[in-house]
Amino acid sequence: MQTETTRTPSGIFVLGEMRNGHIHSVTLELTGKGRELAAARGCTVTTVLLGGEFKDDPADPIRYGADRILAVNHPSLEHFDQEIIAKVTAHLIETEKPEIVLAPATTAGRTYLPAVAALVNTGLTADCTGLDIDPETGLLLQTRPAIGGNVMATIKTPNHRPQMSTVRPRTFRIPDPEDRTGEVLHPAVPERLFASRIRNDGMEYLEEQGANIQDLDVVISGGKGLKRPESFRLLQELADLLEGGVGASRPTVEAKWIPYPHQVGLSGKVVAPKLYMAVGISGAVQHLAGMQTAQTIVAVNKDPEAPIFRVADVALCGDLFDIVPRLIERIKKEKRS
């Protein structure tokens, strides 16, 4: 363990995510964030890509802020194997000694990163929604919702290295691509690290219901204020009029009113549509973390003190069973004219 003063900045690792040979967009989101942190810290950004066969150009993240790409291709990285990816990542961290590691909080990242943290003996902060450099100490400030998602906690890793965070997809925006130069390196990794005690036994791809809410311009979400599962039909009608999708709060999913793929929030999906409408959702931080980067937020709630109103552009306070049908009628009228 070294103290901060004896250390020179040794760079930021962004662990990319490969899906079926393609670079997942969260890789570019985190590369962009890494660039911002690197500017504040005065260090470099290295994006790490581990995969079987690359169908995208591994140099792509350079335009979004990477100075270097560490690309490792190996047939055993074709399918997700937490044991191999953890060992190879720990090896790269031990050889390159980055001071910060950012990784996607996807099911993959949330699986192998804790193992990496244990292998290299450092801390890991899950599902960060804010990342900054402390101007005084140069330490990474990691912010995430805490205590059941009611408050925000800011977390530091003062003495252990690297400082590691996972971040949900869509928490940060992909920056505009720039004309930048950088290098693509293919580091040598000992063959023994590609051995695993886990056997992949196939994939079953599912057409997830409501899975595409992350790609839509309009998301209409419902909470416990809907009173019963059938009320989601009302939201579906409104969403259909606007070519949008239906989202849901965690309590409605837990009550099995609507399937999990619709869940918006820290433990569900993070969405950033042009219009987000929260109907009968009080607005726990856990939910806000999943939608507050939407361009426009409209909230419908009967409680004038509901926290959701604090992040809304338009607050409609009243009975949702009165307001939503009126809005539907008004939009239908607009479409006819």
């Binding site: 937490q82 193992a115 890991l124 899950a126 599902d127 925000m152 800011t154 530091k156 252990h160 992040v311």
Partner: protein
């Protein structure tokens, strides 16, 4: 078949309220429950034991003395043994320091063929302790397990629910799995089970048993530190509409939709 189940006692989150003036969590009168996904892990352990025809299910938890309630609940549900890891020196542990204690307890009380835990706890929601414990014990592990099948005396096949669908993996024992609620329907304790749990003598262990270096324990041994608790920033200038002004509010929404070419 020897199975360990890692459980955590969590606040009954629906009951957690914030003091609007002080901005602190109101802890008084907040109930504590066994983390719901750990109930699924326990149910899976009991089913595997039944399937094997013999075996032993041990529940382990690190926490303050009142964590005993969660362990008694596990005994009522059918667990054979319970170990409470409690010590003032463990307090304030982050996921790394918690995993250190659990891994050491497993090392000292094992060996186990299988270790099960919920995918995450409802309070911290990190999902990190399971994989960290596995890595510290150098065990193969899998996560997000929504179905499992013991396919041979030596192997288990799991279905992981991930973004694109299901991934299937085969692991050989010993291994660690973290599970989702789709895995099973946790049963209710029986009257006989409850009776047994009341009389059951739980094992407790502190660091005098585990003998871990003091600098690796609790808050001081945790790599991560909470340095600030805050409320999310208010980022928007909200226009409020209610009562007779709701029509105006609806018009405002229509205008915004048109401005963004959504209508």
């Amino acid at each position: 078949m020897k199975i360990a189940v890692l459980v955590k006692q969590v606040p009954d989150t629906d009951e957690v309220k914030m003091d609007p003036e002080k901005g602190t969590m109101v802890r008084e009168g907040v109930g504590a429950i066994m983390n719901p996904l750990d109930m699924n892990a326990l149910e899976a352990a009991l089913a595997l034991k039944r399937g094997a025809g013999d075996g032993e299910v041990t529940v382990l938890s690190m926490g303050p003395p009142q964590t005993e309630e969660a362990l008694r609940e596990a005994i009522a549900l059918g667990a054979d043994k319970a170990l409470l890891l409690t010590d003032r020196a463990f307090a304030g542990a982050d996921t790394w320091a918690t995993s250190r204690v659990l891994a050491e307890a497993i090392r000292k009380t094992g060996p186990f063929d299988l270790i099960l835990a919920g995918e995450k706890a409802t309070d911290g929601e990190t999902g990190q302790v399971g994989p960290e414990v596995a890595a510290m014990l150098d065990l193969p592990f899998s996560t997000y397990v929504s179905a499992l099948e013991r396919i041979s005396p030596a192997e288990i096949r799991v279905r992981r629910t991930i973004e694109e669908g299901y991934q299937y993996q085969i692991l050989s024992f010993p291994c660690l799995l973290t599970v989702l609620s789709d895995l099973n329907e946790p049963s209710m304790p029986t009257l006989a089970g409850k009776k047994k749990a009341r009389r059951f003598s739980l094992e407790t262990a502190g660091n005098e048993t585990l003998d871990l270096p003091k600098e690796e324990l609790g808050l001081s041994g945790s790599p991560t530190r909470v340095v600030r608790i805050s409320y999310p920033k208010i980022t928007r200038n909200t226009e409020h509409f209610s009562g007779s002004r709701l029509d105006e509010g609806i018009e405002r929404v229509v205008t915004l939709l048109k401005e963004q070419a959504l209508l």
